[in-house]
């Protein structure tokens, strides 16, 4: 297997303080890998370090077995879609214009025609069932709709990898489920997702690989079994009980 993202021995220091220490992480194709940990554990920093948005103090990242330093930023940009935390467009553009921003890296590389751009935009709007919002202004749609539009922006870039920093935050249950389904479809079609999620029950529902992080270190990773009472209680510092309900695992802090 050559495709996928492999990071090993990642170190990040900001202002002399070590934020990430010797972190290894693997993002495999067709899988949703979820990063879980308390606030300030370094989750967002690790995600940005993988994407090169923050400089690594050490370690290596490979995309499809290619060292990241051998890939130009624009070449990387057509492979990845980054859904940042609390991203909000600064201008009141319409939904279609916002989604079309996802085509910028392709236009920059000159590898996409106008009709290909339009097809990708339509497909992304269709995947999230928001075609009806196409001509609406950003300020005239709800927070939940905006989250879907921002994911459509990412999908319009036809990425191989999606990096999503707390994509479910501030969303009602219906929009959370809609987002989860869209990400699962994306993976079923061969993509890979790396996401940070705080809601443990939703995380368990969304992901199939999990990495637990505390104090800048990855303390456990693997499949659903790593989400056990002992691991979770240890990294969050509160006791967390689990239960099965309707075939799903739910997590309750004591």
């Amino acid at each position: 297997m050559t495709d996928g993202v492999i990071a090993s021995g990642i170190n990040v220091s900001i202002g002399g303080r070590e934020i990430i220490h010797n972190a290894d992480i693997e993002i495999a194709m067709g899988e949703i890998t979820i990063l879980i940990g308390p606030n300030g554990a370094g989750k967002s920093t690790l995600m940005k370090a993988l994407l090169g948005l923050i400089e690594c103090g050490g370690g290596s990242v490979t995309f499809d077995a290619q060292p990241k330093q051998n890939i130009t930023p624009t070449q990387l940009a057509v492979q990845i879609g980054y859904l940042g935390q609390n991203t909000k467009p600064e201008w009141n553009m319409n939904v279609e214009d916002l989604v079309s921003l996802g085509r910028l890296p392709h236009q920059e590389l000159g590898i996409s025609s106008k009709s290909q751009d339009q097809a990708a935009i339509n497909e992304a709007l269709g995947a999230l069932e928001i075609q009806h919002l196409r001509k609406r202004k950003i300020e005239a749609i709800s927070g939940g709709e905006l989250a879907l539009v921002l994911l459509a922006r990412v999908l319009a870039g036809k990425p191989k990898y999606i990096f999503a920093d707390e994509p479910l935050n501030h969303l009602d249950v219906a929009h959370q489920i809609q987002l989860i389904k869209a990400l699962q479809v994306f993976c079923k079609n061969g993509g890979a997702v790396f996401a940070i999620v705080h809601d443990l029950t939703m995380a368990a529902r969304l992901g199939n690989k999990f990495a637990l992080m505390a104090n800048g270190k990855i303390v456990a990773n693997g499949d659903r079994q790593v989400l056990n009472t002992q691991n979770l209680s240890e990294i969050f510092g509160v006791e967390i009980a689990t239960a099965k309900f309707n075939g799903q695992t739910i997590f309750v802090p004591k």
Partner: protein, 331 residues
């Protein structure tokens, strides 16, 4: 408001500009009837002289100036993601006129014809570098406005100081001419002197336009698009400095054009930052040309300054934007 096709909008503003240009050529202090511009008229030669030597350069400069300032404003607002950004508000124009004052009153501008605009451009660059240094990564509106106030205050003080030390004893009386701009002394020489800088500045900002789109989702998302933030910032400084420096070295500070115009354009062509540059250039040219026509029509015994008109229109507009930002929660 209905969102029109950007192309239609561009054509309409181009036509408006053409009409204003014709009016600008026909109207002025020397009162010629339209028939006197015909070769059969006895006053034909005098009329032609006024037309070519006074009104044509003034019209051309008003167009260049409006386009330069409006595109600077659109690029600054887009890059900084700040609806209040403008060369005047941020103190860039003020610094440019400081550069021009030093060039003129210390005799530097007599060394070579290009020294005057060059000094203003260098000072505009300097102020933008300072601005971005002060503000750093924090793009909240309030920091920019405070940094702008700081830069304007510093340059105002330095202007007064420079004029105090100027060898010419009457220099200090001219400070008002530099702080409130006017086109009254523009000849073909000034147009020819500034046009190349303005054209290069416009080209740099046009070439940088797509990076403004990438930045509309924030710096990190822009970087995830592969954008080189340093390069984009460098181009912004280069382009805006050339435009604002070149214009200000001739006319003095003309505020608010760059602030107002992008806001008028956005609802019409959509808010995608790269798409508002060309319409802003055309509408900016229309606005300054219309204001300059107004200056020539209203006569108080002394010519009104275009800087005054722009401030009278611009200040309430600025207030309107502030109120608007408070309503929407602002940034």
């Amino acid at each position: 408001m209905r969102q029109n096709n950007p192309q239609n909008w561009t054509i309409v503003s181009f036509l408006l500009l053409a009409i204003l240009a014709i009016i600008s050529l026909l109207i002025g202090r020397a009162n010629f009837a339209f028939s006197e511009f015909l070769p059969s008229s006895p006053k034909y030669e005098a009329a032609l002289l006024v037309l070519l030597e006074v009104r044509l350069p003034r019209t051309l400069f008003a167009i260049l100036c409006g386009a330069a300032l409006a595109v600077s404003g659109a690029a600054l607002q887009g890059h900084l993601r700040n609806p209040l950004a403008d060369a005047g508000v941020l103190g860039i124009s003020s610094f440019a006129s400081l550069g021009a004052i030093i060039a003129i009153y210390f005799g530097l501008s007599s060394l070579a014809f290009w020294v005057l605009p060059a000094m203003a451009i260098v000072f505009a660059w300097l102020s933008m570098a300072l601005l971005l240094l002060i503000v750093g990564r924090d793009v909240t509106a309030i920091y920019f406005i405070l940094a702008g106030v700081l830069l304007s205050t510093i340059s105002g003080a330095l202007m007064t100081l420079a004029l105090n030390f100027a060898p010419n004893p009457y220099a200090i009386a001219e400070i008002i001419n530099w702080q409130i701009g006017s086109f009254s002394e523009v000849s073909m020489r000034e147009v020819a002197l500034t046009a190349p800088f303005i054209v290069i500045g416009l080209l740099i900002l046009a070439q940088n336009a797509k990076s403004l789109d990438a930045l509309s989702l924030g710096e990190e998302t822009a970087q995830s698009f592969g954008l080189n933030l340093q390069k984009s910032r460098r181009n912004l400084i280069l382009g805006v400095g050339l435009l604002v420096g070149a214009v200000t070295s001739i006319s003095g500070v003309i505020g608010f054009v760059g602030l107002i115009v992008p806001h008028i354009v956005r609802p019409w062509v959509g808010s995608v930052p790269s798409r508002i540059l060309l319409p802003s250039a055309l509408l900016g040219a229309c606005l300054t040309l219309a204001a300059d026509i107004l200056v020539r029509l209203v006569w108080f015994g002394n010519e009104l300054k275009i800087g005054v008109i722009m401030a009278i229109i611009g200040a309430p507009f600025f207030l309107h934007l502030l109120v608007q930002m408070r309503k929407t929660g602002g940034k």
